[in-house]
């Protein structure tokens, strides 16, 4: 790695208006990655289109590979990254599902590929709108997963993805997620960064070992018998464990450059909160608006917006909930697990609390599947119910659906 960890060039903010897809494409232009294999799928299609336009106009020298499927997109990304090229791609929904086998290989071959996931529900029924079933379906593939609330976070997270992925302590692929249509297509205000500081922040990609290293050949993708396989998997998990500190270091450097702070999660009005909501993605914006209104009415409520889902910041989440001293937590899943009892966060957050001996009431809610609206009123009703549960007026509903047609 030739990147200097200490030098951070501060950037001016450039106010602009753009969608989440535009913001990520703008970041791609600034990073100028070497290779982008991609196959179009709604709602991420605009990203390969916009990158192709940058290439067509000579603004970047990235090579675009118009592959014939998402499986081939991730396969080609693996080939390119293993060959020594900084590689990225973008996809959604079924596209990510088709990549599944290759997601595992990207991670196990320790290739720092960056993927923009524009979250969309998985079929069936076929539907193009947002939920997190695609990203959650890939939660155990060994990728770092960072979720964004809005276009600004999609942009900021994307720029941080490369230094996280390529750090020698990590060497894992990173998935930067934003909500389909809600974030990807809605145009909002954004503060962009200047090109030069972003380039300096991301640095040059100079891997230690790669296929196209003349005179120093390497073999990638071995068959490993049981005597070796388990160690490889443990080493991969150790890298995921190390990723946490690197994510925070990179966030700190990013703050120095941009003035914007990031952690594993954002705590919004959690100080002295009696009732907390754990939520991820664009719905956090809605939840914050509802919290502001409820606080004005005297309700002590707050939000824990999860940003980093993999590695799962188990101890930090538990500690934050303990610190808040809250009585009950609503765990919001924009995804069904079909396990008969909870969504993915509905399983992992209570496990985190239990393991860290934080004994609070939790209620798991499923909301916003396949683009179903999630409103301020919904948030208010969740907090109202949470209060009743905590006061013993009502038994905790388990795995409750919000906004379902009666």
């Amino acid at each position: 790695m030739s990147r200097s960890r200490d030098e951070v060039v501060c950037s001016k903010s450039i106010p602009e208006r753009m969608s989440g897809n535009e913001a990520v494409s703008y970041a791609v232009r600034q990073v100028n990655p070497d290779v982008m294999p991609a196959f179009p799928i709604t709602p991420s299609t605009e990203i390969p289109q916009m990158v192709s336009s940058y290439i067509a106009n000579g603004e970047i020298d990235t090579e675009f590979i118009p592959v014939e499927s998402e499986h081939s997109a991730m396969s080609a990304a693996i080939g390119a990254e293993a060959a020594g090229a900084r590689t990225m791609t973008a996809t959604s929904s079924a596209g990510l599902a088709l990549m599944w086998e290759e997601l595992l290989l990207a991670a196990s071959n320790r290739l720092p590929i960056v993927l923009t996931l524009v979250n969309r529900t998985l079929s069936g029924p076929i539907n193009i709108n947002c939920d997190h079933s695609d990203g959650m379906g890939a939660r155990d593939t060994g990728w770092i997963q960072i979720y964004s609330e809005n276009n600004q976070e999609a942009y900021d997270n994307y720029i941080q993805a490369f230094p996280i992925a390529e750090d020698p302590r990590v060497h894992l692929p990173v998935m930067i997620c934003q909500d389909g249509f809600i974030t990807s297509h809605a145009v909002e205000n954004i503060e962009l960064l200047e090109d030069a500081p972003v380039k300096a922040f991301v640095g040059e990609y100079n891997p230690e070992e790669f296929l196209l290293n003349p005179g120093k050949p390497v073999s990638v993708g071995p068959y490993a018998v049981s005597a070796y396989s388990m160690e490889a998997k443990r080493a991969q998990e150790a890298a995921m464990e190390r990723a946490g500190e690197v994510i925070l270091e990179v966030a700190e450097r990013f703050r120095e450059m941009s003035g914007r702070s990031y952690g594993f999660f954002e705590e919004y009005r959690t100080e002295d909160a009696k009732y907390l909501m754990v939520i991820m993605g664009s719905a956090a914006g809605t939840a914050k608006a509802a919290v502001d209104m409820l606080r004005e009415e005297g309700h002590k409520v707050g939000i824990l917006k999860l940003r980093v889902f993999r590695p799962f910041p188990e101890k930090e989440i538990a500690e934050a909930i303990r610190r808040s001293g809250c009585k009950a937590v609503a765990i919001m899943d924009r995804c069904e697990s079909y396990n008969g009892c909870s969504g993915p966060l509905g399983s992992e957050i209570p496990a985190a609390l239990f393991r860290n001996k934080v004994m609070v009431e939790t209620v798991n809610y499923i909301y916003g599947l396949a683009g179903r609206d999630f409103t301020v009123e919904h948030v208010q009703s969740v907090f109202a119910e949470l209060e009743e549960v905590a006061q013993g007026k009502k038994e905790a509903p388990n795995h409750k659906y919000i906004g379902l047609r009666e």
Partner: protein, 315 residues
């Protein structure tokens, strides 16, 4: 002219780029073919070798040992085409950005069995060929999924006894004719497609491999490589089996150069298909009394395809 001064003896003096000590079976055609392809690489050139999952992969790169002298990448079963297209594109960028020197020339060759090429990897192969990456896809066609234990593929010849098309009391083995993948890839109008096998002096294979490697753009080599386990022949008979495949016109030697079909070898006297079928255990049931009509059907298909090929080459 490629391969003009060819001599097998001289060729065999070149350093091997697939080291001995790998775990492929004795009498396996694949490794013989792979070594012949690699001999066509010019010594000064680097290469990245791709490999679909299969016998070759699990036997040649078993951690922590690699038999490959060049850089090598195995990704999965169905994506050798896409994987190498990523490597080749990376090469283009690194050259463009000055990260590789002018003399650092790499060639890109990927190997896949017929399972990884004709079947599960067909889409990935077709995509890579259509996009025109500067690479060679070499199919080592042994006519079944040998790595998983001899299941039929679309490259398996009709009537072959495999573990998913067993010959039995009411079955004569595989029902369908085999897919003609060489023609299908030729119809992609890539600059170079060739069909070859192990011939006595390996000149045909060598010349085609060299042409494929040193032709700019996408090239496809379909190389018939018998499998002693699946075909059930005596190990020492491998070269004779290959000769009979060519002499019966079961596996004709041809190439398609920029869309022009060229027949490379025409037997003086085309041998009957029985000569190819007889030494192989997988066709044993065809020689039971009362099954003569099956051999007749096989012969008709060989004749039809041979005529088609002659017509294409005469145009």
């Amino acid at each position: 002219m490629m391969g003009k001064d060819y001599s097998l003896k001289t060729m065999m003096e070149k350093p091997e780029r697939l080291s001995p000590g790998h775990r492929m079976c004795a009498g396996c055609g694949a490794t013989i073919g792979v070594r012949a392809v690699l001999r066509a690489l010019h010594e000064e050139d680097h290469a990245v070798i791709g490999n679909a999952t299969g016998c070759l992969e699990v036997s040649s790169y078993m951690y922590p040992y690699s038999a490959w002298e060049d850089s090598y990448i195995h990704n999965a079963f169905e994506n050798a085409g896409a994987t190498l297209s990523g490597v080749e594109t990376a090469y283009k960028v690194l050259k463009k950005k000055g990260k590789l020197g002018e003399k650092d020339n790499f060639k890109f060759i990927t190997f896949g069995g017929d399972g990884g090429t004709y079947d599960i990897g067909f889409q990935s192969l077709s995509g890579a060929m259509e996009r025109g990456h500067d690479m060679v896809y070499v199919c080592y066609d042994n006519g079944a999924y040998m790595n998983t234990g001899i299941q039929r593929s679309s490259a398996t010849p009709m009537f072959a006894d495999t573990t998913t098309t067993p010959a039995g009391k009411v079955s004569n083995g595989k029902i369908q004719y085999r897919k003609d993948l060489s023609s299908i890839i030729a119809e992609h109008y890539v600059p170079y497609v060739a069909q070859t096998t192990l011939t006595r002096d390996f000149k045909d294979l060598h010349r085609k491999a060299e042409t494929a490697i040193y032709t700019k753009g996408a090239a496809f080599l379909n190389m018939m490589t018998p499998c002693p386990r699946g075909w059930r022949y005596e190990m020492s008979e491998i070269m004779e089996i290959c000769r009979l495949a060519v002499e019966t016109c079961y596996w004709p030697l041809f190439e398609v150069v920029d869309g022009k079909w060229i027949l490379n070898y025409e037997p003086k006297k085309k041998l009957p298909i029985e000569d190819f079928l007889k030494p192989q255990g997988r066709f044993k049931h065809l020689f039971k009394p009362g099954n003569e009509h099956l051999i007749e059907l096989f012969q008709q298909e060989v004749d039809k395809r041979w005529e088609d090929l002659q017509y294409r080459c005469a145009r």
